[in-house]
Symmetry: C2
Subunit: 307 residues, 2 copies
């Protein structure tokens, strides 16, 4: 079998972002951590972690860390059934952490109650990795996370997938913004020049909406605001028009602080839940909570699909 103390040292260095902190967590000296990892690298025949600040795992290192997470998850299940196995000195059943990739807009609009109920039911911990909904599945493919909320409908090998529903976006701006930049109404001419918000380089939602609803390519001056709440706040402040999650915009629309650019023309982004097939109870509980909250909070298609 693999050298698990060395693997635990590697995972701790990556997770804690340093050899010293990893050593503190493991209760050994930093040089012991360093020796274990060097021995593992010699055995595997490749560098596993680049010694920079913070240390960065190589591709091989990432795979081994992902393996450690999976083994630890399965161990957690064993310990729950056989409490006598719990590590002495740290109490029974040292808490298990599941690393999960979520898109920022899901975290901002519906994922947090999932996290709260999961933690309450299981006592386990979540390590959220934020990425664009088009890119969370890559994190699953690389083994970095155990599960992902993703817009990618292509099943990741070794994973189960289910359609969660759609995160509904509305194209919004402040009333003052529209008076200033679209006094004649929202049309192609107005949107060619009106400032727009984008989350980051990969955020194509505004362009997609402009194409689908007004049939125009979008090439307007842009404020870049890489935060879900900041995006909404920037819309409210009149910095630009933007697609915001409907659940977050609704109260502001009702109060007249935001206006829909073209009423009744939302944009739906279908979201899927993909998770490793591990047969681990914790992942099943998380999947159940994700599916339950999604049914409540996401737009549901007329017919449901599962795979």
């Amino acid at each position: 079998m693999l050298d698990y103390p060395a693997l635990a040292a590697l995972a701790a260095v990556v997770r804690e972002g340093g050899f010293e902190r990893a050593a503190a967590v493991l209760g050994v000296t930093p040089s012991a951590v360093s020796q274990r990892i060097r021995a593992l690298e010699e055995r595997v025949g490749t560098t596993l972690v680049v010694r920079c600040q913070p240390p960065k795992p190589t591709e091989a290192g990432t795979r081994l860390c992902a393996h450690v997470e999976r083994v630890r998850l399965l161990e957690g299940e064993l310990v729950a059934g056989l409490p006598v196995l719990g590590e002495p000195g740290r109490g029974n059943a040292a808490p298990v952490t599941l690393r999960v990739a979520v898109n920022a807009d899901s975290l901002g609009s519906w994922f947090l109650p999932v996290m709260a109920r999961f933690a309450e039911r299981t006592g386990a911990f979540l390590d959220l990795v934020l990425d664009g909904e088009e890119h969370t599945a890559e994190r699953l493919r690389s083994g970095e996370v155990l599960a992902a909320v993703t817009a990618d409908p292509v099943p990741v090998p070794g994973c189960r997938m289910r359609l969660l529903g759609a995160l509904r976006y509305v194209a919004t701006a402040s009333p003052g913004f529209l008076r200033r930049h679209a006094p004649q109404g929202v049309d192609a001419a107005a949107l060619a020049r009106a400032p727009v918000l984008r989350f980051d380089r990969r955020d194509g939602l505004q362009a997609r909406w402009a194409q689908e609803v007004l049939g125009i390519p979008l090439d307007a001056p842009t404020h870049w605001v890489p935060s879900t709440q900041g995006f909404l706040d920037a819309s409210l402040a009149g910095l630009g028009w933007a697609l915001n999650p409907k659940r977050m915009a609704d109260a502001h629309l009702a109060a007249g602080r935001l206006v829909e650019l073209v009423p009744g023309r939302p944009l739906d982004v279908a979201l899927h839940w993909q998770h490793a097939r591990l047969g681990a109870r914790l992942l099943d509980v998380l999947t159940h909570e994700v599916a339950t909250e999604a049914k409540r909070s996401l737009s549901q298609p007329a017919e449901k699909q599962e795979s």
Copy 2:
């Protein structure tokens, strides 16, 4: 002089995240973009952009992009004074974008009004880069941004620095969380096991507070939530205790949805504004708005320092 059409192509590829999109913005074909960059690389004698998805600038490429941003900023000033210089076809004074690094908690708690007033006064655009307050200065040092909100008090060469004041954090948890995890009161024993939140691997605020206020090293089970609003929401949901910006927590503290772990023991993080010495009016306006809002929203020291 350098080949500016080629530099503009390089900057567009990096900014837009692709050769096709850069070509659309520049109004040329993707192969023209590619040829210009290749010619520039031959002249400079090194690779400037790694052809992956999205394309990534090399260190040399990053420096050249930063140079383009600076030249463009100075050009914007010229155009404002001499409107006849504005590029034909795109209207006068094509909008200038300033790239600025901000820590997530500043964006969540006080930076947005700065952005709104700056945009209103100047018509210019901001491209926000989020990073930890300990790391925003590196972005300035590498030339990636023109200015940064940073906790780093070491002046970056070629930049001006001013102390903005302190972002005040309070250690908070939900009342239910404290009943469950600290029924005997918040002490070293309770915090050794009570779940804690961390923003990311580099977030040492909770550990710093525990060390300063209770004199203990923190090694408790952790939920990782890399979002300022998500962090506050997770605190409200009772997932863990955490340091939240006081401005964001205040209403929840007043309403009893959050409780201070040790009343009257906040943690202050001094923030500085560092910006390139360019003598550009837009940067001066932004600096003025940053300083004005900081005076209003950040805790001010008894004596002010400037450099």
